[in-house]
Symmetry: C2
Subunit: 247 residues, 2 copies
Amino acid sequence: MNFADASSTRSVRLFEAFAAVGAPQSLSEISNLLATPLSTCHGLVKALQNGGYLYSNNVSRRHYPTRRLLQIAETIAANDPVLKYFDAHMAELRDTTEETVILGTLQKDAVVYLNVVESPHSIRYSARPGDMKPLHSSALGKLMLGESEKKVREGFLKTLPLDAVTQNTLTTPDVLRRDLEQSRDRGFYMTRGENVSEVLAMAAPVRIGGEIYGVVVAGPIGRMESKQAEIEDALTTACTRISGDFG
Amino acid sequence: MNFADASSTRSVRLFEAFAAVGAPQSLSEISNLLATPLSTCHGLVKALQNGGYLYSNNVSRRHYPTRRLLQIAETIAANDPVLKYFDAHMAELRDTTEETVILGTLQKDAVVYLNVVESPHSIRYSARPGDMKPLHSSALGKLMLGESEKKVREGFLKTLPLDAVTQNTLTTPDVLRRDLEQSRDRGFYMTRGENVSEVLAMAAPVRIGGEIYGVVVAGPIGRMESKQAEIEDALTTACTRISGDFG
DNA sequence: AAGAGTTTTTCTGTATTATGAATTTTGCCG
DNA sequence: CGGCAAAATTCATAATACAGAAAAACTCTT
């Protein structure tokens, strides 16, 4: 394979680093952060400066991004034909449940978080858009398996290594298959410490243009259990409404 | 020179393209947008997918960014030690003047827009963060020249090609030097169709940690002239307040 | 003001990546 | 359900960007 990982995504990794440290950086600091030689970083920084993405303080000689990237990212987010319709409903769901709400979909042999709206509590399920989760142990992953066509599902059940991510992970195809069937019938999927111990997650599907999306509410087991019925209710009605918006 | 332009900034150019077209794209469409071979785009898209930046619709086979980039850009913007203090004042200035307000600084031998807050009017000065403007013909550029140390200023006056960007551009060092002196004395810099005809811009300096920043109010000449005194007033008080926030 | 240390910039061989053609897969229509 | 067209993926090679070292610029201290 010929993945242009190192080079072509280095600019993105630079922005990641800026988000992580949250402060202007000198060239040598950037070199450290990216674990990349100074000369390489020099070229990259200069290129991004020319593109108007980075500016340097003439006094401190440190670099920081302009608002250009933000502007582009906002434009992209505003134009997404699917995600933008979820926004309001996800925010509402977060407000009523007071737990983290996540939108995700199937990507190759994993689930990718397309958007995350975090709980207001300081103890909360915390995640970022772009995070990937395994199919067999996460609520979203099980949703994707359960809602896929039988052929696809059985293919995954045959080939996926059902690693025991935690003690509660379902690690045999038969047990997992049964769980998927039950979940499908009742309309939502659930994990109880199967991917992250202490986390209970509930996921319901939304179909748009033939594509399967999943909305998850996730939080610490204790707090989630105490309001499980309400969450179940809020989640399923939210998903119905979202589907309705596209009807 | 060894600028890693083509390769290392290709991921950023891809996001630019997504912002421009505002819709999911197939691999071949991406190839067209970036004027880059399919195989190259394939590697790039795969790398960005692995990083959680892009997701593909399994039905339409089109790609679109997740909210990951937005999340990173927002984190970066929130942490900027300088720009975030300007935000409120720039928004207020935009509201009182009803014209586009821009923050910029000196970058090499040009001025770069760090942030742009646009006028509510449909006829307005429109620009994006990251845009570059010449030093001799833009209000911000003249501000940078006028506020720099004499040595720096004279260096620029000697070496800059004072191109006639419009008919009103000041194209001789002597005329420009006089304009800078007058502007410096009265506390703000001004262009009247010197960089873009029909545009009147007024810029006032803000000094932070030895670094010179400039705040500009720009709009169509007619509208700007009719409220020039108010704008002058609002601009200078805003800049004073911003400086105060750092005092 | 002058020197020592630090940081930035330049330079060139080498290794990695981009490329275009061939292959495979996928979607579509009869 | 099978054949065709279009798109995605792989592969070998040519081209380009990367990395390390050396030079230059800048800072800070004396």
